[in-house]
């Protein structure tokens, strides 16, 4: 119950700024994209329809699904081929606000739709833009009281009792939002942070601190089961319901991947549209700036497979040894019935190898390069990059599914975090930062001396067992380099400052003071609670950490959103670079075709090459020919960015000496040419 309550607390740790935000955003009445406003899901749909009405020739509205709460998931298609179901040009699939709690990402999607319409990109590609992937949750931002909750409106019995959705929050103090309640209680785990009366933290008994409060989210115990607000309305968190690393039996992930109609519709749509060459998720993560994270355990290493004893003897393998995938295929193939091809997938199935869970190295290369370019781009635009880190992608999210399952370049973007809080430099500090450490040579580092290193380790919150002596020894012994140390330190959670305020909270406190005029928190005020008696209600306002004041929208979106167009301009494009024919004797020729990916991004990603999901491009030769060597239909399974590959055939000309060469691709344009082999030597 404790952990549950704290989860709900966390969900409910929302508060003020309601006045601030709702005045500027929630009360927008007209469906307009002009100006700095947040739009309700139904206003967003109206805007899409308006855009379509004004641009009938190159837009189309798709009704993807209806959410459990009755919201239409409308998607706008923009492009040169809206009137044909089979596209010849590639498409970009953009989803907004899958989390449902990030109103700025919905506005970004609308902004993007307008940008695309006035750009060359609307005639060279198709754009599928879904501004609200989780409209039930997105609607919360415009309701009173203000609640930040990612779940859709599907009923769910959170507390496994006799009723569904019977104990939600109440805005007891009538301030228009759900915050927290604290009750003085000697068994409570929470205390007020000294010097920061707005903030609470868990008491650390090892430091002699004592808890004084119990914390609850704001509300009453409607079903009188002793728990507060433990079974509010909803539902499924749409952005945990996708198939990659989906977890069974979570409270909010849904019963199975695609169990909620929003997600099932997206799965269906994506696979029905092989022209989709790239996806962009506008929301909480930012693959444009921070490449997808690796380092997860559990990816089967295809170069070191173990053969379980039950198969080992049949295969003539040693269960104590490891084998490469190629070796296993070779072992299994002779046992297969004739004509049955043993593939990686067959082996992966019977050995139960499981899915890939870390991004492929080759893909990280383009992610890294584009991220550097993006940072440069932002700097050129004088856009501050001093912000908190974007959230890491969640298991079961759209962006991980897109990368791992669709196998195409997958990007994401968030648009705003609290500005990073800069502590005033203490005079006696070490003067070292992780960034500086990254650049240091081992010699530079050792020169700092033990005293400074001790100070630095303390400042950066390194565990106490890492003494300066030990670290110096490791650097001297070559077990670790300063760069490696910096990489490790970046993985560590940021240290709480001396007062116990974490850096994110500091950022919020500063923003609250400097920009929000105190509306980021509700001051704790006494309230007479029907069951708990004397309580205080207060704490952080919902949405303050991820939702900028509406007045900032234009300046945020006008700089960041156009990068989507920039990345989209880099999707793979297959072109025939040249062709040749060499006479081999009689009517026999060797025909060669050089195919080039003239764009920066690979065709497809390394992940896509592995999972074989994106359709291959096919080179076909047509004419009065007999193909003696090679296939008349040859698959191009992969072609790296700016890479050229040569394909050759031996053919015999039967009549006309003209050969038509086609490169057909569902999502990389393709090309065609004619080759006259006559006269070739």
């Amino acid at each position: 119950m404790d952990s549950k309550n704290s989860r709900i607390l966390f969900c409910g740790m929302l508060a003020l700024g309601i006045l601030f935000f709702s005045l500027s955003g929630a009360i927008a009445q007209t469906a307009s994209t002009n100006g700095n406003e947040y739009h309700t899901p139904s206003q967003v749909n109206d805007i899409l329809r308006d855009i379509h009405d004004a641009n009938g020739n190159n837009t189309k509205i798709h009704e993807l699904a209806e959410s459990p709460g009755g919201h239409q998931l409308l998607m706008i298609e923009i492009g040169p081929e809206v009137h044909s179901s089979k596209k010849t040009k590639p498409a970009i699939f953009v989803v907004g606000n899958m989390e449902g709690t990030i109103p700025v990402s919905t506005e970004a999607a609308l902004y993007l739709a307008n940008e695309v319409l006035v750009s060359e990109a609307s005639s060279s590609k198709t754009w599928y833009i879904l501004p609200n992937g989780n409209p039930d949750a997105a609607a919360n931002y415009f309701n009173s009281p203000l609640i930040q909750d990612s779940r859709n409106d599907r009923p769910h019995n959170d507390d496994m009792d006799e009723q569904e959705d019977e104990d939600g929050w109440e805005d007891l103090n009538g301030d228009g939002m759900i915050t927290q309640m604290r009750v003085k209680d000697p068994t409570g785990a929470w205390m007020v942070i000294e010097g920061e009366p707005l903030l609470m933290k868990r008491a650390d008994r090892s430091k002699g601190e004592k808890g004084m409060y119990k914390l609850y989210s704001e509300g009453i115990d409607n079903d009188e089961d002793g728990q507060y607000n433990e079974d509010s309305d909803g539902g499924v968190n749409v952005n945990r319901n996708f198939p990659h690393l989906f977890k069974d039996f979570t409270e909010t992930g849904g019963a199975w991947p695609g169990s909620t109609p929003e997600v099932y519709a997206i799965l269906e749509f994506a696979y029905a549209h092989p022209e989709i060459a790239m996806t962009y998720s506008l929301g909480a993560t930012n693959f444009s700036m921070v490449p997808p994270k690796g380092g997860r355990q559990g990816s089967a290493d295809y170069s070191q497979l173990e053969i379980p004893e039950s198969f080992a003897e049949q295969l003539g393998a040693d269960p104590n040894k490891t084998y490469s995938m190629e070796e296993v295929i070779e072992m299994v193939q002779p046992l297969a019935p004739p004509g049955f091809e043993i593939t990686e997938s067959v082996v992966a199935s019977f050995l139960g190898l499981g899915a890939v869970v870390n991004p492929m190295d080759a893909d990280l290369k383009f992610y890294k390069e584009l991220s550097d370019q993006y940072k440069e781009y932002l700097e050129e635009k004088d856009f501050s990059t001093e912000r908190l880190d974007p959230e890491p992608a969640k298991d079961g999210s759209f962006e991980l599914w897109s990368y791992y399952h669709l196998g195409i370049p997958t990007f994401s973007m968030d648009f705003w975090t609290l500005p990073e809080f800069k502590e005033e430099k203490k005079e006696e500090g070490s003067g070292i930062t992780i960034e500086k450490l990254e650049e240091m040579s081992s010699e530079d580092f050792l020169e700092l001396g033990e005293e400074k290193i001790t100070l630095f380790l303390k400042e950066s919150g390194a565990p106490e067992r890492f003494s300066a002596k030990m670290v110096i020894g490791m650097v001297e012994g070559g077990q670790v380099t300063p760069a490696r140390m910096a990489a490790m330190m970046k993985q560590m959670p940021k240290p709480p400052s001396a007062e116990g305020v974490d850096p994110d909270d500091k950022a919020l406190l500063a923003f609250n003071k400097n920009v929000l005029n105190g509306k980021g928190y509700a001051e704790w005020e006494a309230y007479d609670h029907p069951a708990l008696g004397e309580v205080e209600i207060g704490g952080e306002a919902p949405y303050v950490r991820n939702t900028p004041p509406a007045s900032m929208l234009d300046s945020l979106l006008s700089v960041q959103v156009p990068w989507v167009l920039e990345v989209a301009s880099k999707i793979a494009k297959l072109e025939i670079l040249k062709t040749s024919a060499t006479h081999k004797g009689n009517d026999v020729y060797e025909v060669s075709v050089w195919v080039e990916n003239t764009a920066y991004l690979p065709f497809p990603t390394a992940m896509g090459e592995k999972n074989q999901n994106p359709k291959p491009a096919i080179i076909t030769l047509t004419g009065d020919i007999e193909v003696l060597s090679g296939k008349t239909r040859t698959a191009i399974n992969s072609l790296g960015g700016l890479q050229v590959k040569k394909y050759s055939w031996i053919v015999r000309i039967t009549e006309s000496d003209e050969i038509e060469i086609n490169v057909d691709s569902a999502h990389a344009w393709g090309d065609r040419t004619e080759l006259k082999v006559g006269g070739a030597q």
């Binding site: 019995n157 496994m160 009792d161 006799e162 009188e224 089961d225 002793g226 198939p243 989906f246 069974d248 039996f249 409270e251 019963a255 199975w256 991947p257 695609g258 169990s259 099932y264 799965l267 269906e268 696979y271 039950s310 198969f311 049949q314 295969l315 299994v332 046992l335 297969a336 019935p337 004739p338 004509g339 049955f340 091809e341 593939t343 990686e344 997938s345 067959v346 992966a348 199935s349 019977f350 050995l351 139960g352 190898l353 499981g354 899915a355 791992y404 399952h405 592995k610 999972n611 074989q612 999901n613 359709k615 291959p616 096919i618 296939k631 008349t632 239909r633 698959a635 399974n637 057909d664």
Partner: protein, 581 residues
């Protein structure tokens, strides 16, 4: 299908050879001396409904990729309550299109239960106490094509979702062909002194691998057919392949991990339809999904990484599985991933995890039964999964020769192949290998239906007993209540309790003039230890174990009558009235 003439010829041969019934012949009681094709399965379901309109409901639960209807039949006696108020026993078959006898097991069980209702006490009791749900043929397209097209015993297993198996941009463009027009896809072999095979000296129809240093005699060219798409490969892109038994949303993995998974869970029409059907029937607690072959009753988990099941559930599976082994001689009760192979996203994974039902896959038929030899583990290991075992093949050929008069094996015959030149075509026909010959069908369907009936007789049967009531004070009473389950299957799997799949059963004490002061589980009746529930003591949440009981103690203030209500998703609802005195 270019060879229409051969194809039609094949259908004629095949339909005369297998003695399928004509639609108008289908009468109740159903006969089980032949196989029902897709249309006849539908007719049989309708005939059963027509003969027993009060006890059965039939429904189209969805349509396949090619537009065929998928029929279900619900068997419930409305006199003894609504279906949803009883333990649900769900049975299906033929999720793999070629595994056709699974539908016959379904039809047989329906027919048997209805025919013997009121005649045999055990049948009457299990029909009155349970709701039975049947979907005799799930993969209706597969069944249709298995009967109507030429096939091997193993083809047309999957769904008719086109897939570009050979990645040439064309979909399902290179099926096998029935070149010799015998209604089956058999093997092609070619004389080849450099081949890897030679004639088996003991039976010239069989081939054995050449020893090192020996010259060969034959090259096996694979399944009968031509290279339709001219890519140098034969039959490499036939239907699908999406395997409907890898397309379910529990522990699902994408196609590069699990062949045949489909692009996402429930991408197939039939898996989606069956899921909807089952989620609308939360009372389902027992599942049998019939397949062929090998003679096995399999339970999960499907992969090792899920970890072993809870001991509480294993003990229930063991009782049901060990009894099934006795009911169907030679069949083995096994664990799916461990004793067979890993599967992601299979059906019983879904039903155990998401429906909360004890779930078995019944792998019908073992070829050893043709010659009445037991399954031999050593022999099986000597001839691993994909391989062939000539000793067994020779026995089966004797069965073919002497018991079914040559009807299951097509002798090798020469054929002028457009690509390979002179080849020989021959081998096991489509109705061989995985299916019992019709004369053996009756035995197979009865015994396997009996394994289901044993489980159906063991679904939870709960009785409320108020076994103690004493006055403590003026108007304060202590009441002890017991919920007893005489059967093996508990009211919930332990797995679903642990994972909070749905709320547990409720025991509620209520009455106009009473108030429940305290209430909780009696953990030790002799020491009077009670685990009192802090809030709302009048509602208790619980699971009644198999062959066991749970006891609760309530302190009730007031007077007069009160009721004790038991509400269970899977074991029905009960109410009993008592009074305080």
């Amino acid at each position: 299908m270019r060879y229409l003439k051969e194809l039609l010829l094949g259908i004629i041969i095949c339909s005369t050879a297998i003695a399928t019934a004509k639609a108008q012949d289908i009468e109740v009681p159903l006969r089980f001396d032949h196989y029902y094709d897709y249309g006849q399965v539908v007719e049989a379901v309708k005939a059963l409904n027509k003969a027993y309109p009060d006890m059965t409901d039939i429904e189209v639960i969805g349509t396949s990729e090619e537009g065929r209807e998928i029929w279900s039949l619900t068997l419930n006696n409305p006199q003894t309550g609504e279906a949803l108020q009883k333990p649900g026993v769900y049975v299906d078959g033929n999720i793999h299109g070629n595994e056709i006898q699974a539908a016959e097991v379904n039809l047989y069980l329906i027919n048997y239960l209805l025919e013997n209702y009121g005649e045999l006490e055990k049948v009457t009791e299990m029909v009155d106490r349970n709701a039975f749900y049947f979907i005799p043929s799930i993969n209706v397209d597969g069944r249709y094509h298995f009967f109507n097209d030429a096939n091997t015993p193993s083809t047309n297993r999957g769904l008719r979702i086109p897939k570009d198996d050979d990645r040439d941009g064309l979909y399902d463009e290179d099926f096998p062909e029935d070149l010799n027009g015998d209604g089956s896809i058999t093997q092609m072999r070619k004389k080849d002194p450099f081949g890897e095979w030679k004639t088996d000296p003991e039976d010239p129809r069989l081939l054995v691998r050449v020893e090192p240093g020996e010259m060969g005699e034959w090259t096996i060219l694979g399944q009968e057919g031509i290279d339709n798409d001219g890519d140098g490969r034969i039959n490499e892109d036939s239907e699908g392949y999406v395997d409907p038994n890898r397309n379910w949303g529990s522990n699902w993995a994408p196609p590069y991990v699990q062949r045949g998974a489909g692009n996402y869970p429930y991408s197939g029409n039939v898996t989606k339809a069956v899921t909807r059907f089952m989620m609308d029937r939360p009372n389902i607690i027992m599942v049998f999904a019939f397949h062929n072959n090998g003679g096995m009753f399999l339970r999960g988990p499907g992969t090792k990484s899920e970890g072993p099941l809870n001991a509480q559930d294993i003990s229930v599976y063991d009782v049901l599985g060990e009894n099934a082994e006795k009911i169907v001689p030679g069949y083995r009760y096994l664990i799916s991933w461990k004793d067979l192979y890993s599967t992601y996203g299979d059906f019983t994974e879904f039903t155990y995890n998401q429906v909360g039902a004890f779930s078995f896959v019944g792998e019908l038929f073992m070829e050893e039964s043709e010659t009445y030899t037991a399954h031999d583990e050593e022999e099986a290991e000597a001839a691993p999964g994909f391989g062939t075992n000539n000793a067994r093949q020779r026995e089966r050929l004797e069965f073919n020769d002497h018991v079914v008069q040559g009807s299951l094996y097509h002798e090798w015959e020469t054929y002028d192949h457009p690509k390979y030149g002179e080849v020989e075509i021959g081998g096991w026909t489509k109705m061989s290998s995985r299916l019992p010959h019709p004369f053996m069908l009756q035995d197979l369907v009865h015994r396997n239906a009996s394994a289901v009936m044993f489980a159906a007789s063991q679904t939870p049967d709960i009785k409320i007993q108020m076994y103690e009531s004493s006055k403590i004070d003026n108007n304060l009473y202590q009441v002890r209540v017991r919920l007893v389950n005489k059967n093996t299957i508990p009211t919930m799997t332990y797995h679903s309790v642990k994972n909070k799949l749905f709320p547990q059963d409720q025991l509620t004490v209520s009455g106009r003039n009473i108030k429940v002061v305290a209430g909780g589980k009696l953990t030790n009746v002799y020491n009077n230890t009670v685990d009192y529930k802090e809030h709302k003591p009048e509602i208790q949440f619980l699971r009644v174990p198999g062959s066991g009981l749970v006891e609760y103690q309530f302190l009730i203030e007031g007077s007069g009558s009160f009721s004790i209500q038991y509400k269970s998703r899977k074991a029905g609802n009960l109410v009993q009235e008592y009074s305080l005195h």
